[in-house]
Symmetry: C3
Subunit: 320 residues, 3 copies
């Protein structure tokens, strides 16, 4: 067993080494069109998606599976997630029924649901994805939840492993970067969670006040001085996130946290990663994104074999 | 011939027994992937859809057919349905052209179009679906029109027949239930229409002022006392609808029409049905939905073989 | 080589005669389902689409290819197209990254992007499609850009050629017609561009002030008197466009430019074409659209083999 019942966090992975080997395998063979012709992957998007949408659908198609996508709120509707309530408000359907019904139509239920960034406790309960796990009778696949983004993190770890040829552990630095709008902590939370399980020397750097939740930080080294943290880094993972402490607040006067060639002076061999989309010259400067140090497109391309490996495992019932 | 040219009401069914047998057959074999690989089912959604979308697409995929979906108004545009008008308003395309063109691209045209609930005569003319029937040269499949929902009703009748093992007719009661918003009469209209053709003892109960259109009620027994109507019911079909008499008006002070275990005291063996989505503790109480008496998920699951049988018949040209 | 790297204007066509022969071939065989089962066509819609959406997807399906569609702004997001900017505005992703990533997931990238009709220079730079051509490493297929609509024009030319059996050149007249809203010049620009490459006697008629850009008009005969222009026409291509001179302005008091049987008195054998959607009794009268002279449905139906030929050539790498 490589993946347990669902795939919504690294905790669903029973054998990480075997999972990474599956990604390599899927990347090599690319497609196996007749494998799952009778299976259907449903994709529910409660939020916009470009990369995740295309890569997950492409992965399913490579496996020969059918897909059905719906943008909830546009083509669908809002779901009630609390139990026992009188449903006289804006949500016409309970997740119990939706999960039950979709389980009858589909073989895997993939879902994207962002946080509201207003009520931290509500967001961190990750109720939407957890209620789906509870009520669905088919595997639930997170395409990014309120707190985590495991398909991205699997891709990130695979990309690091594929690139790294030396015997010593790579120095991996997750660095906060500026942004103009409050963003979720899902990508950094999830990246930290996966790095803690991986064979890497893991560091996080961010301004004071941007500490991530402890349960995700794990054994990472925290360094508030970005320059110092980046020294001799092999992989620099750039990402903005809004404050977890002062929930949803964005930083001000922190523009010098943008990653440019100047930031990388003491990390001349660093591979620069970002999950995309990236605001150029706000988060990362053109002089990095347009240089050979940037591996963001290669990283994005790896979303397909990563999703393919996870979907294959979920579809073939490795979880049973 | 089992289905005539189109499938937009029970009147398109030439042989109901044979149609139900086809549903059983499709449910058993589940999929026949190479049957219609060169055929394409187009799905036009003028209104939101979750169950109907997933089940109809899944049914098409099980038959090996291709699908193309579009949410009109989002990805498409509004269509003019009146003949002879000067089209200088908000509708840039006439249904004549749209039907003609889509007939050239597709093999079946599935359409969902709700009523406005403002002008009864306009809604009950069901102009959108009827103009499509008139101008399309391929079969038109209703995924719910302004007045009817035949795919739902076929599913409902199939579910009742599949569940019912006794020799006498089952007592089937369609009961009105409360809701917070004005809903169409499509589901109850259509259910009544199909029950009139089926071998059941059919009753309808609702508050005064919620009488359905006579042409759909047919030979149903009308009973204004819900408790009395539900006595010894074998199947209780719960559904809200807004008034047909005072068109589009919702009831007030009618909360005790909600179906709970209390309502079912004299119907201890009743199977409770609802087309979903259902507002819990407004339409039906948790104590019913979470009990074994509720068959709403099983009912929803049957949407796939029902759609599959209809699509198969339309695609293989049983109508020719 | 029939098509060069991309297909965003007639200038990408290396051999027009061979391309038209391919359309004939595709129309005849209709589908070849196993040809491109491992290939995926991505469709990005920045604007609404009915015909183009259905015909392009159907064409891909006929070739056995997979498709993934997304309505940007709904399911996706706005893309920055200018280089070197600080991306602190409403566009969270640069077209460089989007093109790079989509090139990794897809085999052909089809895009629809209308003009804003406010800034002529900006629209006529056709930046969105041209930046995609620059940064994508896969073929870019225009499903209508700010200035051109080559899939429509290929269809139009094919339709004319297929209909025309005489040895002399057909007289083809593109005529301006009234409309209630400002429309792009894309369809007439593109039609003019293709007619200039075709073996036809090409005329354009429009009110003064509605001259198209010279580079697209080419060697067409311009005639401001519609009646005179239409005399003995074999094909009348009807289309409204807003002014290119007074950019985006619509005409007033020009209702008599509508095409009716009255307009065609001196062109009794003319085939009337329009790309659709058409506002009846504003652009073209019922008495023409409902007559045998109208070939608009046949023309629209030809969108499938035209798209199929282009997709086939792009997918099989005729461009390499």
């Amino acid at each position: 067993m490589i993946i347990k019942n669902h795939f919504t966090s690294v905790d669903d992975v029973a054998d990480l080494t075997a999972l990474l080997a599956e990604v390599t395998l899927e990347k090599r063979k690319k497609s196996s069109m007749n494998l799952f012709r009778h299976k259907t992957v449903g994709l529910l998007f409660l939020n916009p998606s470009l990369r995740t949408r295309f890569s997950t659908i492409k992965a399913a198609q490579n496996l020969g599976a059918q897909t059905i996508s719906v943008n909830m709120g546009q083509g669908g509707w809002a779901l009630e997630t609390s139990d026992g309530v009188v449903m006289d408000g804006g949500k016409p359907e309970h997740i119990k029924e939706a999960a039950g019904v979709l389980s009858a139509y589909l073989d895997v239920l993939a879902v994207r649901s962002f946080p509201e960034l207003k009520d931290r406790d509500a967001d961190y309960a990750d109720e939407f994805i957890n209620q789906l796990r509870k009520y669905a009778t088919i595997p639930v696949l997170s395409m990014e939840s309120a707190t985590l983004h495991p398909l991205q993190s699997l891709t990130d770890l695979f990309t690091i492993q594929e690139r790294w040829k030396k015997s010593q552990k790579p120095k991996v630095v997750l660095t906060w970067a500026p942004h103009i709008k409050p963003l979720p902590q899902s990508v950094p939370n999830s990246f930290a969670q996966w790095m803690n399980k991986a064979d890497v020397d893991f560091h996080i750097t961010h301004p004071e006040g941007f500490e991530l939740a402890e349960k995700f930080v794990g054994n990472a080294n925290i360094e508030y001085n970005q320059q110092k943290a980046l020294e001799n880094a092999d992989f620099v993972y750039v990402k903005n996130w809004s404050s977890y402490q002062k929930y949803g607040v964005i930083g001000k006067g922190l523009d010098d946290w943008m990653i440019s060639q100047n930031s990388l002076k003491k990390a001349p061999n660093a591979n620069v990663m970002h999950c995309l989309p990236v605001r150029r010259n706000v988060v990362i400067a053109d002089d990095v994104l347009d240089s050979k140090q940037s591996i963001v497109i290669e990283q994005a391309a790896n979303r397909v074999p990563a999703a393919q490996a996870v979907l294959k495992l979920l579809l073939e019932g490795s979880h049973q």
